[in-house]
Amino acid sequence: MKELLDLFFTFARIGGLTFGGGYAMLPMLQKEVVEKRGWATNEELMDYYAIGQCTPGIIAVNTATFIGNKTRGVIGGIVATLGVVFPSLVIITIIAAFISNFADLAVVKNAFAGIRVCVFVLILNAVVKLGKSSIKDAVTLGIFLVVLVGSLLLDISPIIFVLIAAVVGIAAQVLLKKGGAEA
């Protein structure tokens, strides 16, 4: 029970400190889940994000379910997910009920423009950390660059990139190595 409460409040904190989409959640996950609690590794976070791209639902929720499920089973998955949406429920309900022009307030606009700069730097740091463990050789560097440039320039669903990367990974690791051993 204590662990479930810990799971709930950790994810509530992460949800409450995420500004933007699921990617903005990554720095918080690294701090709270990887560094502080050791519930998952950076590698596992990358796996969850890759799978979260190809499975139904928004990434933030998918990742919370994954980590909760890994820590405390099915109940853990449910509790972590409820935790991550809890702050939104409270904050949005209050704003929707009482503050009709919230997004137009000058103080909100200014604060959020500042926060956005910080979110950029936080995600940048998170990417560098992930890159250190995911980019190990020429093949992985190639995949990283192709996906980065491709998703910036082309209007292709991320699912396509994820699927191709998995195939390239299998080709490079299993098939080529096998061929090399036979030769």
Partner: protein, 204 residues
């Protein structure tokens, strides 16, 4: 029964919206057209509020729409609807993964997936940089890209980066103050950036 319908409409969005929170947007537009629960002007407000409040955008939008349609209970029901398919699907996927985690093909697939995942996050990061550091539409040509840089935001970004990373540099590792600063919780940097944004009117 409006709550039951809310639950199913949002469960549908949760089931078919694949990817980030903004992937739910087309579904919210579709719901608005079919049900007349809210207008497209209201939807624009909901997106604006969802983007400048804490919490993942997709969750914020479903809570806001749910509240507009059915009050506090509507907000809860819509959000539960949104997360319901995720919970089921992810728990099943996690079970399958666990069964095959030592399979060499699965391992090799993840060897390829991880740099792809990093690349997608890096692209999202540049997307945030574009909004945070440049004026709207500045990146359409090289000329406007240079003149469209928001220098105060750029300076803040550089200062934040230095504060977060100086303590990890080899030469400066002995410095206890820098090391402490670089280990601060992200929320400290977020709060400081919000204050800087308010003082220097970043949103203007």
């Amino acid at each position: 029964m409006i709550y039951l319908r809310l639950f199913f409409e949002f469960a549908k969005a949760g089931l078919f919206a694949i990817g980030g929170g903004l992937a739910t947007l087309p579904f919210l537009q579709d719901i608005s057209l079919r049900t007349a629960w809210y207008t497209s002007d209201q939807l624009a407000d909901m997106i604006a509020v969802s983007e400048c409040t804490p919490g993942p955008i997709g969750v914020n939008m479903s809570t806001y729409t749910g509240f507009t349609v059915g009050g506090v209970l509507g907000a809860v029901v819509a959000t539960l609807g949104l997360i319901f398919p995720s919970i089921i699907v992810i728990i099943i996927v996690a079970k399958i993964l666990k069964a095959f985690q030592d399979n060499k093909y699965v391992k090799a697939a993840f060897y390829g997936l991880r740099p792809a995942s990093t690349g997608l996050i890096a692209a999202a990061c540049l997307g945030v940089a574009q909004i945070a550091l440049f004026n709207t539409g500045a990146l359409e040509s090289l000329k406007t890209a240079v003149s469209g840089i928001r220098y105060p935001a750029l300076i803040l970004a550089v200062v934040l980066w230095l504060l977060m990373n100086l303590g990890t540099f080899k030469r400066l590792k002995g410095n206890k103050v820098l090391a402490k600063i670089s280990k601060l919780h992200p929320v400290v940097f977020l709060a400081a950036s919000a204050i800087v944004g308010i003082i220097f009117k970043f949103g203007a």
